[in-house]
């Protein structure tokens, strides 16, 4: 016993020592996903988080838009089949009170069309204190979680103060943190006691293992002689008690909860947003990623059918945002907001009304490396996609998606 105590104390001490240096941050894991899939799955646009700091029981809203990519890879299950709007947090640190896409509640699964635009809003209530990197997520059946941008949200307060109630259609207000559990515990304990009593009855015959094995082997086909009349009586009593309890429990439950409904499931449809026709169209001529310079070079053919010259203000791919500081001022919300405020260089723009011309973009930032987008060169399907945000002279914004093959530049061939 002393040894046990000593060992425990030593281990707990070592663990405590080690853990005293663990930072209390809740990161995420989307960097493991293949970059070209991240670029060709869902584009998240204008994602806003209502607050970065809140108390237990307070509300945080996440809203914005998303667009499933036209370049969704054919070899993975499509978002047009079955999908579900979700949230990426480690465990239920928040409870989800509402989630909607284009106003439709996203309680059930749905599907989204490629190339269409969707508005979303998710309402969360803080449940556990901590600092969380909260992501939007769309789970796609057979494909996995498509992770959107993340924001650090800090929750403070007392976890015991968390409240979560609901009112049933029978008018009863229930506390979802413990509703029904007293009942579950009571019945589980009762059955456990029954099972244990049966086990203990046979244990009273100890020693049992060797003597009974010996007797049963010796008696062979007559081993039933080992069963005593008392055993049979106990068998009868336990059987009768078990059947009575099952029947009684069922009748009791029917009396107490006469109105119940089956679990609800089934898909729901969401109509996409109506999008005005964009006057800007883009054709990818060439995409090259230069590894030594962490530089992505895009050569595009841009046509402007509008009435005002357009320029590129932002290039977004795989949740990374490269901003042309001459057009836009976007600053990262926190240390992990994947915004490079001045990392987009544009040559050949603006494009005048009615003009079609070649535009070259350079998106240069260490984010390519830190977010492991450089592993796109290790993909068996080196096709990329991204979203370009054009702005005209009147401040109007036009989103255009492009996609196509990517050629890596290892810096070993002089061009």
């Amino acid at each position: 016993m002393r040894t046990l105590k000593t060992l425990l104390v030593v281990w707990l001490g070592l663990t405590a020592l080690l853990l005293s240096h663990v930072p209390a941050a809740f990161a995420h894991g989307e960097r493991a996903q293949m970059p070209q899939l991240r670029m060709r799955a869902v584009h998240w646009i204008d994602v806003q988080v209502s607050t970065a700091k809140l108390g237990v029981n307070d509300i945080v809203k996440i809203s914005g838009k998303f667009m499933p990519s036209e370049y969704w890879p054919h070899h993975v299950n499509s978002i047009e089949d079955t999908a579900y709007l979700n949230i990426g947090v480690p465990g239920p640190s928040f409870v989800r009170l509402d989630s909607r896409v284009n106003g439709v509640p996203m309680i059930r699964s749905t599907s989204f069309r490629r190339g269409e635009l969707y508005d979303f809003e998710i309402v969360l209530k803080a449940r556990r204190p901590g600092r969380y990197h909260v992501h939007t997520v769309i789970n796609v059946e057979g494909t996995g979680p498509i992770i959107g941008p993340g924001t650090w949200v800090e929750v403070t307060g007392d976890p015991a103060a968390f409240e979560n109630t609901a009112t049933t259609l029978l008018g009863q207000t229930i506390d979802l943190e413990n509703y029904g559990f007293g009942n579950v515990k009571w019945w589980s304990a009762l059955w456990f006691a029954m099972g244990l009593a049966w086990f203990v009855y046979w244990l009273t015959k100890c020693p049992i293992a060797i003597p009974r094995f010996k007797r049963a082997s010796e008696l062979g086909p007559d081993a039933d002689q080992m069963i005593t009349p008392m055993d049979r009586r106990m068998g009868g009593i336990f059987l009768a008690l078990t059947l009575t309890l099952i029947a009684g429990g069922y009748v009791y439950a029917q009396e107490k909860w006469p109105i119940t409904t089956p679990l609800q499931t089934g898909k729901i449809d969401v109509p996409p947003l109506e999008q005005p026709t964009s006057p800007v169209s883009v054709r990818l001529i060439e995409a090259r990623y230069r590894i030594p310079g962490r530089s992505f070079r895009l050569e595009l053919e841009v046509s402007n059918k509008g009435d005002s010259p357009v320029n590129v203000g932002e290039f977004a791919a795989g949740n990374l945002r490269f901003i042309n500081a001459r057009i836009l001022n976007v600053q990262p919300r926190d240390e992990h907001d994947l915004v490079a405020p001045d990392a987009l260089r544009v040559e050949g723009a603006p494009v005048a009304p009615g003009e079609t011309r070649r535009v070259v973009l350079y998106a240069d930032d260490a984010m390519w490396e830190t977010e492991r987008m450089t592993t796109m060169i290790a993909s068996p399907d080196a096709v990329v996609a991204g979203l370009l945000f054009f702005f005209d002279g009147r401040g109007r914004r036009y989103m255009v998606e492009f996609g196509g093959p990517m050629i890596p530049d290892f810096g070993m061939v002089k061009t």
């Binding site: 579900y84 559990f181 099972g195 078990t242 429990g249 909860w257 609800q264 499931t265």
Partner: protein, 262 residues
């Protein structure tokens, strides 16, 4: 370590060395008790481990989450997977020890392991409220099998009646625990059960709604007979299921010696 040593009369020493192990009935009793003290906890631990592993990987999700316990799949999948250890070890304990404990003890062990794991892993570790992740109760089913085996002393009749009851009664046995979670609520114009509501509110990032394998409506669910229909079907299947696993238990308890592996 200490080893009890005692001198023996020369005549007995020789006999003992070649033929038998112990000198007195008291010593034999002590050996029997020691064997029990080793074998019973060993069996309990193995049942807890094997059953928990087996059940987690075959039924798991239906038993983890209260919003998975539907009328169509849960009462069908559960008895089919749950009968395996009662069959295998029921054969061993009855045939070799004449103990009608195979079903109730294995399920008792599963239940204990499930409560420990649900509390440690799903409640403390993943932080779900216990009322969302409680394990169902199946001990009553084990008792039916064991008591019938004791009373009929026949695997055939135990399979026929016990195996059937085992499949039939999963739902009614659990109904007093489950019913309150299937009371309807409304959320944003959608009707849900309390269980669905909890599944929606308590976020599971990697378990989206569509992953649930639960009853979907069909044009041929006549007369709202889903639960009894599933229960009876599960019962019939389970008769053969119980007999099959008894046979596996018979194979497993064979003391086979071989000269070498290949």
């Amino acid at each position: 370590m200490k080893v009890d040593k005692m001198p023996l009369p020369p005549a007995q020493t020789e006999l003992r060395a070649t033929e038998v192990g112990l000198t007195s009935a008291a010593e034999q009793h002590r050996a029997y008790v020691q064997a029990d003290l080793l074998i019973i906890p060993l069996i309990v631990m193995l049942f807890m481990g094997i059953f928990s592993f087996h059940f987690a990987l075959l039924v798991g999700d239906w038993d983890y989450w209260v919003d998975w316990r539907d009328r169509r799949w849960w009462p069908l999948v559960t008895p089919l997977a749950l009968t395996v250890l009662p069959g295998v070890f029921g054969y061993l304990l009855w045939e070799k020890l004449r103990l009608p404990l195979g079903a109730s003890l294995t399920i008792l062990c599963l239940t204990l392991a499930a409560w420990i794991s649900r509390y440690l892993n799903f409640h403390l570790f993943a932080d779900f409220p216990m009322n969302f992740v409680w394990p169902s109760t199946y001990i009553g089913l084990g008792l039916i099998i064991d008591c019938l085996l004791l009373l009929t002393r026949s695997f055939f009749w135990t399979g026929l009646f016990g195996g059937f009851a085992f499949g039939l009664l999963v739902y009614p046995l659990n109904w007093p625990l489950l019913a309150p979670f299937q009371v309807p609520v409304e959320l944003h114009g959608t009707m849900l059960t309390v269980a669905d509501l909890m599944g929606y509110e308590y976020i599971r990032t990697a378990i989206p709604e569509y992953v649930r394998i639960i009853e979907e409506s069909t044009l041929r669910t006549f007369g709202e007979a889903v639960t009894p229909l599933t229960a009876v079907f599960a019962g019939f299947l389970n008769i053969m299921n119980y007999w099959f696993w008894l046979w596996i238990g018979y194979l497993g308890s064979k003391a086979i010696w071989i000269r070498k592996i290949v």
